[in-house]
């Protein structure tokens, strides 16, 4: 995993920062944001992403680093036996948009030499580069479902493993802060000018974030055979559509509630068994209210008791990477028995009246966690994650 807290991919450093309630949101450095009314984001310093070619796309660099760390941690960095049974699914919204911007800027200025940036622009360029480097020749896919992309990538990979069509799947998401997306969210007046305050009365919007996270999924027998020590188990996955609006969520959380009900069914788990919920929690007025409603509908009385938190107060919104980062948060919460806090939640919103774990982390045995994502276009996805038996 790579995030503003751990540009080097050090997972434990990431986890310490998240649990300490730190925030990575600060002044934008990756482009000149001085003409915008809001000027903050949570970025990975670009100089710390070097290691490849200077022209490399930042999303590609973050993806490569996170992918390598995931393989190392799983103990398969040295290679795999059956490449055709090993696949990759990358969730991304923007792909190599930073490279596309570089090309268009150069073209507008009639400057030569920008065409090489185009090679890293296509949505599918990241998954192709990762697969080529790792020598994987199994299912290779790019999924783009707005802010649910990372969750959907892991969910679809879980299904490949469950159906037996692959032995190993590496799945996750990546996105980098860029002016194209920043300007759009600015025009939609969805950005905060200072801090992200999920579920707060005084929340003012989201901040763009960035990063990459990948999980290595394999069949249980395979993990046992090679004496691996997995972090946990993907126990269920579901996705549903709001079918409501291109940019706004359904006010009652219709699609998200349906996804949560479906994932409980997929994992054969009762709402009472959920020990922790990693919320989408963007810090926008509509999302947080909608999500509260959806959890009440889908989890019933359990919604009033289960600890729920959003790491976006700390990390901003990393779009295609967000769901994958949050799945990793669930695994670490299960491992350490710690529920991370919702950073900056100082004044709870009466309309968001659930236990959103404000400010401070909480020690708690977590056996089963639920990770939620919701995005533009009414995309909703839910993952059920359990500890390794």
């Amino acid at each position: 995993m790579v995030s503003p807290f751990n540009p080097d991919g050090d997972r434990e450093r990431f986890w310490e920062s998240v649990c300490a309630g730190e925030t990575a949101v600060g002044a934008i450095r990756s482009f000149d944001a001085s003409s915008y009314p809001c000027r903050v984001a949570a970025e990975v310093p670009r100089d710390l992403l070097q290691g490849g070619r200077a022209a490399d796309d930042p999303a590609l660099r973050m993806a490569e680093r996170a992918f390598e760390r995931a393989l190392e941690h799983a103990g398969i960095a040295a290679g795999i036996r059956a490449p055709r049974r090993a696949g990759i699914i990358v969730g991304t919204v923007l792909g190599g948009t930073t490279s596309g911007e570089r090309y268009l800027r150069a073209r507008a200025a009639d400057a030569p030499g920008a065409t090489e940036a185009l090679a890293q622009y296509p949505l599918r360029a990241t998954v192709a580069a990762l697969a080529e480097k790792a020598g994987f020749a199994g299912p290779i896919l790019t999924v783009s479902t707005a802010c649910a992309s990372g969750t959907d990538a892991i969910g679809l990979a879980y299904r490949r493993i469950a159906s037996g069509s692959a032995d190993v799947m590496v799945a996750g998401g990546v996105d980098a802060v860029c002016e194209l997306s920043f300007s759009g969210f600015s025009a939609l007046k969805a950005l905060t000018s200072d801090r992200v305050r999920p579920f707060s009365r005084n929340r003012t919007g989201l901040a763009l974030g960035e990063g990459a996270a990948f999980l290595v999924l394999e069949r249980e027998e395979s993990a046992k055979r090679r004496a691996a020590t997995p972090l946990g188990v993907i126990a269920g996955y579901a996705a549903r559509a709001d079918a409501f609006h291109v940019t706004a969520p359904h006010r009652d959380g219709r699609g998200l509630a349906a996804a949560v009900k479906a994932v409980l069914q997929d994992g054969a788990v009762g709402a009472d068994e959920i020990d922790y919920v990693s919320a989408h929690g963007t810090g926008t007025p509509y999302n947080d209210r909608m999500e509260t409603q959806a959890m009440k509908v889908a989890l019933g009385v359990r919604a009033q008791r289960v600890p729920i938190s959003s790491v976006k107060g700390a990390l901003g919104h990393a779009f295609g990477a967000a769901g994958a980062i949050e799945a990793a948060v669930c695994l670490l919460a299960i491992r350490d028995g710690i529920v991370p806090p919702t950073a900056n939640l100082e004044e709870p919103d009466p309309e968001c009246d659930l236990d959103f774990v404000p400010i401070r982390a909480r020690e708690l045995t977590v056996r089963t966690a639920l990770s939620l994502s919701a995005g533009f276009g009414g995309q909703n996805a839910a993952l059920l994650i359990r500890g390794w038996p």
Binding site: L104, P122, A137, L141, A146, G184, F185, R240, D242, G378
Partner: protein, 321 residues
């Protein structure tokens, strides 16, 4: 019909090359009628870009031919759409607005269309389809991968019906940029969309649209041979059972011919007339053969596509009656 065959309940497809004004007028008329029919509360529905129009028309046609009531209002019908280069022109123009006018150049109306999933979302919203909705980006094989994902979801029981396929709207600017990095196939400006309604409800009667017997993908040095082999295995048929081969968009047609012959498939190989339409090309090639018996033999057709980044895909299609 093999046990894993997926029925095609209906198909909608459009090819929209820029040089056919009569077709464009017909399309505009059909679009107006479709949107008027979908506008249940009297509020006009406004689509902003040609790629949305193509996708909505194809979706409407596929759902109509399948006997699906619209709006559907159910979560057992999802959407899987291959979209990649189709929004490149939108993104480029949006960003050029920023370069020219700064924050004032950012259109809140256009911005959502810079997000690849907006086209699938538009279909989901207009037809009220609340099932799983995915957008995949695989260049030439994006539409193929969408079909593959839908086939898997149906076979594994995650969906009852899926509206799946690809859509593109290729602009001259994209072709020029693509040619600079040699990732262009034989593309030309224009658009296309092809959507299938795959699967069936107990009560619905498939419109004789044929079946997808098998699907396979390959990646790496042996992508095309691997895709063909995986596809034939999936369909459970030997190479000699293939009646014809149709090439969708491919970045290197010679490698496809070589792989087909290497797989002991000796039948004729033809280029799909839709091969310049990137994300839409594979589904369009499937549609070209799904409605009729191949070469009059009634034997299934192998459709093959290849992308220089995303690998290769193959499907075995049985024509309808």
């Amino acid at each position: 019909m093999t046990s894993s065959a997926v029925p095609i309940a209906g198909v909608g497809f459009i090819r929209a090359p820029d040089d056919e004004p009569t077709e464009a007028e017909n399309r505009a008329r059909r679009l107006r009628a479709t949107l008027a029919a979908l506008s249940t509360e009297g509020t006009p529905i406004r689509l902003l870009h040609g790629i949305e129009e193509l996708a909505v028309l194809a979706a409407h046609e596929a759902l109509s031919r399948s006997g699906i009531t619209m709006p559907y209002r159910g979560d057992d019908l999802g959407v899987v759409l291959g979209v990649e280069e189709g929004i490149d022109g939108i993104k480029a123009r949006y960003y050029q607005g920023i370069l020219k006018d700064g924050p004032l150049g950012a259109s809140p109306l256009t911005f959502p269309l810079t997000t690849p999933n907006t086209i699938a979302a538009r279909i989901s919203i207009l037809f009220d389809l609340r099932g799983e909705t995915f957008t995949v980006g695989g260049g030439n094989i994006a539409g193929a991968q969408a079909l593959g994902l839908a086939v898997q979801a149906l076979r594994d029981g995650y969906s009852t019906m899926v509206l799946a396929g690809g859509v593109t709207c290729v602009e001259q600017e994209f072709l020029e940029a693509a040619s600079l990095v040699r990732r262009s196939g034989s593309g030309r400006p224009g658009g296309g969309a092809c959507l299938f309604l795959l699967g069936s409800r107990g009560s619905s009667s498939p419109a004789g649209g044929g079946q997808l017997l098998g699907y396979g993908e390959g990646f790496g040095a042996n992508d095309v041979p691997d895709a063909i082999q995986a596809c034939l295995e999936d369909a459970g048929i030997p190479p000699c059972a293939v009646g014809a081969v149709r090439m969708a968009a491919v970045c290197d047609w010679r490698s496809v011919v070589q792989a087909v012959r290497g797989a002991d498939i000796g039948v004729g190989i033809s280029h799909s007339p839709s091969s310049g339409l990137y994300s839409a090309s594979f589904p369009l090639a499937v549609a070209e053969v799904a409605g009729q018996p191949a070469s009059g033999t009634g034997m299934p057709v192998l459709v093959v596509g290849r992308d220089c980044l995303a690998g290769a895909a193959a499907a075995v299609v049985q024509g309808g009656k």
